[in-house]
């Protein structure tokens, strides 16, 4: 296979089904179809596997950490890890990646002798929580604001959209920094600032959907049948707005992780000694390139997770946009 073919395969063929193919079996939407399709596409299947691993691990580890924190048995947090991620061990300081003591040193250690692998695994739930929480709040707030504005139009629309514009105009990083000064830099303030700036895009999405759905035949038929606006929104508008948003949201998880990691890189968010992927990367910079593993490996991990989310989101957008691939 030439380079062209390999790249084509990676990007996924774009093809079409000729119009009006009446197919009795096979669905055109719903979880099963997305799943079947993603699995058939090898690249997306790998991405899906990685994300599933990431999420599953985050849930398990996150629960352990929370239980450990609540019951004052912090050690629970690293029960499953190869080593204690915050235990200083200067004897093993700046140990390069090796297979000895597998798997503790597989990614090497940092200046304090903590295993990079353990720290990555320990920090994962924070990223996952940020991604899922921010995106879901964005969807919910955006859904309420956008649908209301789009469906009712008029003054409600104008006012709500100007408010949305105002929030959209806030520069995320600057806001996060400002909030961290107010509320104290920490995980919670980062989450709050991310939620505050993340919903306007979804509001626009939902508003566009509401606007286009509003004039569709079945909404008007509903009106003729005597349904009031609330029922129409609940029964028709909401369920039909969700599909395109799902595809975008899949992409968006990656965006949140990237922004979150950038903030951590800048020193906002989780504070030392607790690890965070972004801050690990920035802390390792002074030791680059001799002790490259400290800075590069967390960066690679961030990149992998983000790319996987993006790939899945991209494929789903293709599906929803009707550009089925081979």
């Amino acid at each position: 296979m030439g380079v062209k073919e390999i790249v084509k395969k990676f990007l996924g063929y774009r093809g079409t089904i000729p119009t009006a193919t009446v197919v009795k079996e096979g669905r055109l939407s719903g979880y099963r179809f997305y799943l079947d399709y993603l699995i058939k596409d090898k690249v997306a299947a790998v991405a899906l596997a990685i994300i599933t691993l990431f999420t599953a691990w985050s849930v398990v580890e996150g629960t352990l950490q929370y239980v450990g924190y609540a019951t004052r048995h912090r050690a629970l947090g690293w029960a499953l890890l190869p080593s204690n991620p915050i235990a200083l061990n200067f004897a093993a300081s700046l140990h390069p990646p090796s297979l000895s003591h597998f798997p503790v040193y597989i990614f090497g250690t940092n200046f304090s002798g903590e295993s990079i692998l353990s720290r990555l695994l320990y920090a994962a739930p924070k990223d996952a929580l940020a991604a899922y929480l921010v995106v879901f709040s964005g969807i919910i707030i955006g859904m309420l604001v956008g649908t209301f504005a789009g469906y009712f139009g008029g003054w409600a629309d104008e006012v709500l959209m100007r408010v949305t514009d105002a929030f959209l105009a806030l520069p995320g990083l600057v806001l996060a920094i400002a909030l961290s000064v107010l509320l104290g830099s920490g995980y919670n303030s980062v989450l709050i600032s991310l939620i505050l700036i993340w919903w306007p895009t979804y509001a626009r999405f939902f508003r566009a959907q509401a606007l286009s759905l509003k004039s569709r035949g079945f909404v008007e038929a509903s009106k003729l049948s005597g349904q009031n606006s609330l029922m129409i929104i609940l029964r028709h508008i909401f369920p039909n707005s969700v599909d395109p948003v799902i595809a975008y949201a899949a992409l968006d998880f990656g965006n949140v992780i990237l922004t979150y990691s950038t903030l951590a890189f800048l020193g906002i968010g989780i504070q030392p000694p607790y690890p965070e992927w972004g801050s690990m990367s920035s802390n390792g910079l002074p030791y680059f390139p001799q002790n490259w593993w400290w800075s590069i490996i967390p960066g690679l991990v961030i990149m992998t997770v983000v790319v996987c989310f993006t790939l899945i989101g991209d494929r789903m957008q293709d599906l929803i946009g009707g550009r089925l691939t081979y």
């Binding site: 774009r14 093809g15 000729p18 119009t19 009006a20 009446v22």
Partner: protein, 323 residues
């Protein structure tokens, strides 16, 4: 010497549902200065046929058999660069949606001049701006656009659907193709505008000696613009003949039913006879003759084996009723 000669063509799509055979062993010809109407409903493969002649099929489609000889050149095995050369100059394609046919950020005059430039490059002529401009104005007048100078200075979004289709036809005239393929060019237009465009195409065909392959789902439109009509069903040719012949005395049951389902006269005088059944599943088409589940004259052999094309005196039919 025919402009287009399609022999035993097979085109398949690979889809997530399986292989879809959109064109199944199709053969027909278009002669010089002749217009052939390709009539079929959705799923008949008519659009695929048009796209396959100019090599505009999507990436998941492939030529699985047969040949397409356009002006003496074999299209299916051409290289991409050769295909690019013949596209526009040997065969020009007009699409259904006028709004998507022109570049929205360029003026009409710019796009038409670009077309002339492209033609000169492909045919090895020298491009002279003044000469090209005169040609452009001449062709804009030929398509009967009122106030041609104004139209040239406009952007596509400032034109109506009918005007855009005329501009595209002007572009076609500028490229001087041997064959004009029109895929439902008037379906998105109002009745009176459609009539204007159809009349224009008829007149231009006579004036410029251009062959036309007119793809449509409306058999009345096909009748008004074609010398010969080819009826397609489920990717196959089911009947081919002169326009008058096919309309006045249709042979294939599908063609007959299609004509009988056109509303004519007032309800109480002539009740409609719809075609029973529904369009076929193209991933798993019916066995034997693809029309057999809906045919009022179905026989045993129709269910088992595909009928071959039977031809005589320029008339071709694919049906066991005729041999």
């Amino acid at each position: 010497m025919s402009v287009l000669k399609v022999k035993d063509l097979v085109v398949e799509y690979s889809t997530v549902y399986g292989v879809l055979r959109a064109i199944n062993h199709l053969s027909f010809e278009v002669g010089e200065a002749e217009s052939v109407g390709v009539v079929g409903e959705s799923g008949s493969g008519k659009s695929t046929l048009g796209l396959s002649v100019v090599r505009l099929l999507p990436p998941n489609a492939r030529y699985a058999g047969g040949s397409i000889i356009l002006d003496g050149q074999e299209v299916t095995r051409m290289s991409n660069s050769e295909a690019r050369r013949i596209r526009g100059t040997t065969a020009f394609m007009i699409f259904q949606d006028p709004l998507n046919s022109l570049n929205p950020v360029k003026k009409v005059s710019t796009q038409l001049l670009e077309a002339v430039e492209m033609r000169c490059k492909k045919l090895g002529e020298t491009y002279d701006v003044e000469k090209a401009t005169r040609e452009v104005v001449e062709k804009i007048r030929a398509v009967r656009i009122p106030d041609p100078e104004l139209i040239l200075e406009r952007y596509p979004h400032q034109l109506s659907g009918g005007q855009i289709q005329r501009v595209i036809i002007a572009m076609a005239l500028l490229m001087r193709p041997k064959l004009l393929i029109a895929d439902e060019p008037t379906s998105a237009l109002d009745v009176t505008i459609q009539a204007q465009v159809l009349k224009l195409m008829n007149d231009l065909k006579k004036e410029y000696g251009m062959s036309i392959m007119f793809i449509t789902h409306d058999i009345s439109v096909a009748y008004n613009i074609s010398d010969r009509i080819m009826v397609m069903y489920a990717g196959e040719l089911v009947e081919l003949g002169s326009a008058d012949g096919v309309i006045r005395s249709p042979m294939h049951p599908y063609a007959k039913a299609l004509i009988a389902s056109i509303p004519r006269g007032v309800m109480r005088d002539a009740p409609l006879e719809p075609i029973r059944g529904s369009p076929p599943n193209m991933i798993h088409p019916p066995s034997g003759c693809r029309f057999h589940p809906r045919c009022p004259f179905v026989m045993d052999v129709c269910r088992r084996e595909e009928p071959r094309e039977v031809g005589q005196d320029g008339r071709v039919v694919r049906c066991y009723l005729y041999g």
